[in-house]
Amino acid sequence: MDAIKFVLNGVEVAYEGSATDRLLDVLRDTYGTKSVKCGCKEGECGACSVLIDGTLINSCCVAMGAVDGCSIVTVEGFRETERFAALEKAFAGISAVQCGFCIPGMILAAEALLSKNPHPTTDEIREGLSGNLCRCTGYNAIVSAINTAAKEGNGLW
């Protein structure tokens, strides 16, 4: 049987396990990308969001067989980028991180949004984050941080 080959944060990997395994579990347990959090296993909280070929996806709702040939980015990879730095700074400036559990997913949701729409309106930001539940912040600070990142990081997206 052929292994499932994909690129994880820029590195080619081959997964020998079952095609029915959850991407979320494999990312955490096999590849140690622990920034990917498990909040519900039903695609409702967004804590496990990753980028697959640049698209925001809940990794709990993906079977390994579906990622054969894909490129996957988690915060472990994204945190090395300038775009991350702009988001990080904006989140820091308004203390948008509280318990932190939703944050890696939020950051990737922000990246997915801004890469399609570099200058979103507040409503568009709220739409872009609507699959990522946060129980701490009431969303104000996160929305505001993404707004700031979009302005300050002008040209990055």
Binding site: A19, G43, N58, A63, G65, A66, D68, S130
Partner: protein, 272 residues
């Protein structure tokens, strides 16, 4: 791969579907929540033939592997369909979820299926034996029951090319995003030479399957707006009498009230 097949083309997929006990996997957003044990998936997410939206003489043909996000961005997909699918869950789910998967789940809450019902869409089913075109209304046999052979896959949704321009759509969920429909309504309306040539209404998430009553619709076909107005109460009453709704997370009474309110609003919107 272990416990999975990832065919590269449609023909290969059909052969695997015929030869093995497999579960077709499109976006994964419903299947992975179910997380059935000991299954083998047939991955359909990379088959080019299933990922196209094409327009022919009669139909807008949406491939079963087209994701909702892709459809929202596609100029050929009717606005009514876009409105409904843009209310599905949130972007990460719309990025993965597909038309085929929405149908394959067999749920009356499926937001794209409601539009397929109201527009009288057909489905193109394929197997190694050939193709079968079925009305979506006949494809849905009941809750989680589909007219789908164990060797068949859903290949395309065939939406009529015209007649969906004048519509009324509402989704009532428990919240504004990540919301499963509690009541959904779609109505389409067409008038020609002062007479109603088409008036269709479909109700989602209120019973075991999406509800549409062609015989009640027929009451108003061929009538003028004025004639229809005079029949409005009778028309609404006919729906009210026919619709036996089930309770879900909300009561049958709530569903009924909202359905009737939205039906009335639909008629009003088109002057009836």
């Amino acid at each position: 791969m272990v416990n999975g097949y990832a065919p590269k083309c449609l023909q290969e997929a059909l052969e695997i579907r015929a030869a093995h006990d497999v579960v077709p996997y499109a976006g994964g957003t419903d299947l992975m929540v179910e997380n059935r044990p000991n299954v083998t998936y047939l991955f359909l997410n990379k088959i080019p033939e299933l990922k196209q939206v094409v327009v022919d003489d009669n139909y807008i043909r949406i491939g079963s592997g087209v994701t909702f996000t892709e459809a929202i961005a596609n100029e050929n997909v009717p606005q009514l369909m876009k409105e409904a699918i843009s209310r599905i869950a949130a972007c990460a789910i719309r990025n993965a979820g597909t038309f085929g998967g929405n149908l394959g789940n067999g749920s009356a809450k499926a937001d794209s299926v409601l539009i397929e019902f109201v527009s009288g869409a057909k489905l193109r089913l394929l197997s190694v034996k050939g193709e079968r075109i079925v009305d979506v209304e006949k494809f849905y046999l009941g809750r989680k029951k589909l007219d789908l052979g164990s060797d068949e896959i859903i290949a395309e949704v065939l939406l009529p090319k015209t007649g969906l321009e004048n519509y009324y759509y509402e989704k009532v969920g428990g919240r504004n995003a990540l919301a499963i429909s509690r009541v959904s309504f779609a109505g389409v309306f067409e008038e020609k030479d002062g007479k109603i040539v088409n008036i269709a209404a479909a109700f989602g998430a209120v019973a075991d399957t999406v509800l549409r009553y062609r015989d009640i619709e027929a009451m108003l076909i061929g009538k003028t707006i004025e004639e229809a107005k005079a029949m409005k109460a009778e028309y609404i009453q006919a729906y009210s009498d026919r619709m036996v709704l089930t309770r879900g997370r909300v009561s049958a009474e709530y569903r009924k009230t909202v359905c009737m309110n939205l039906l009335g609003e639909f008629l009003s919107k088109f002057g009836i």
